[in-house]
């Protein structure tokens, strides 16, 4: 494990996930969220929001580094898309049990896939193993 590169990739993933979240969910989707105000806090609880993104970024980076050990933008972005789909499933379930609008559902699903695809590409572009392991065929 190349710890220096890992830390850089983790920091980049954290910054990207947080900024993308702010832009996509907090700004672009603000109007959609305001249609169902009762489901949301009046102001985000920032310590939890930051901690959540740190945990997400750290373990997503670990996932990419562990499962795409040779690094690389394409493979990590593919893994990111699949991870985004894993997290899109619960949004569908939330739609069935919470009075969310279809606009919110679509926004959350598209957001999750784009967010993790780009985060995967970032981690893949930054992380390079100290001693690359041969790819098993």
């Amino acid at each position: 494990m190349n710890w220096q590169k890992f830390f850089t990739a983790f920091m980049a993933a954290f910054i990207f996930l947080f900024v993308f979240g702010f832009l996509w969910y907090g700004t672009l989707m603000r109007g959609a969220h305001e249609e169902v105000q009762a489901l949301f806090r009046t102001k985000p609880d920032f310590p939890w929001l930051i901690l959540g993104h740190i945990v997400m970024a750290f373990f997503f980076t670990t996932l990419c580094v562990r499962f795409v050990p040779a690094g690389g933008l394409g493979a990590s972005a593919t893994l990111g898309i699949l991870v985004g789909l894993v997290y899109a499933g619960p949004h569908l379930i939330s739609f069935a049990v919470q009075p969310l609008t279809t606009k919110i559902l679509c926004g959350w699903i598209v957001g999750a896939v784009i967010q993790f695809a780009i985060a995967g590409a970032i981690v893949g572009a930054i992380y390079k193993p100290a001693h690359p392991r041969p790819v098993r065929s």
Binding site: F40, R41, P44, L49, V55, T78, L82, V86
Partner: protein
């Protein structure tokens, strides 16, 4: 392909039953504390197909990650994948808790049960699906 389908069906059946036991039976009283956040029972039933599709998407993407060879092979690799995905999902849950007024205990119960769920899903998928080629050892 055959093993992919068997792994998908086995993991899906487990997730469906686990979800029903947890959310429909064990956590029923916790959900009842915040009725304004949830759809009525009849509405949920009319949208039940979204729960089925959402769970199927989670399992499909999970098996795809596994089948693409990202995780390696065997039950242990499946469990590792489940743990990493779920801990990153706990980060996402914390971020959701920051913006939606869920009771804290619902986040704790959901995270603990989610971890157990994904460990078992990983073990099922890893035990059934044998990737033809793994990218990592």
């Amino acid at each position: 392909m055959k093993r992919f389908i068997i792994a998908f069906i086995a993991a899906y059946i487990f997730m469906f039953l686990w979800g029903w036991l947890l959310n429909g039976v064990l956590l029923k009283d916790v959900y009842a504390e915040t009725p304004n956040l949830w759809r009525s029972q009849s509405e949920m039933m009319s949208l039940f197909h979204w729960i089925i599709i959402g769970q199927a998407l989670v399992i499909f993407a999970f098996v795809m990650i596994y089948a693409c060879g990202f995780a390696g092979g065997g039950a242990a690799a499946g469990i590792r994948l489940g743990i990493l995905l779920e801990i990153a999902a706990i980060g996402m849950r914390l971020a959701i808790y920051a913006v939606q007024p869920f009771p804290g205990k619902l986040i704790v119960y959901g995270s603990v049960s989610g971890l157990i769920e994904m460990v078992i899903v990983g073990a099922i998928v890893g035990a059934i699906y044998k990737p033809a080629s793994a990218r990592t050892s």
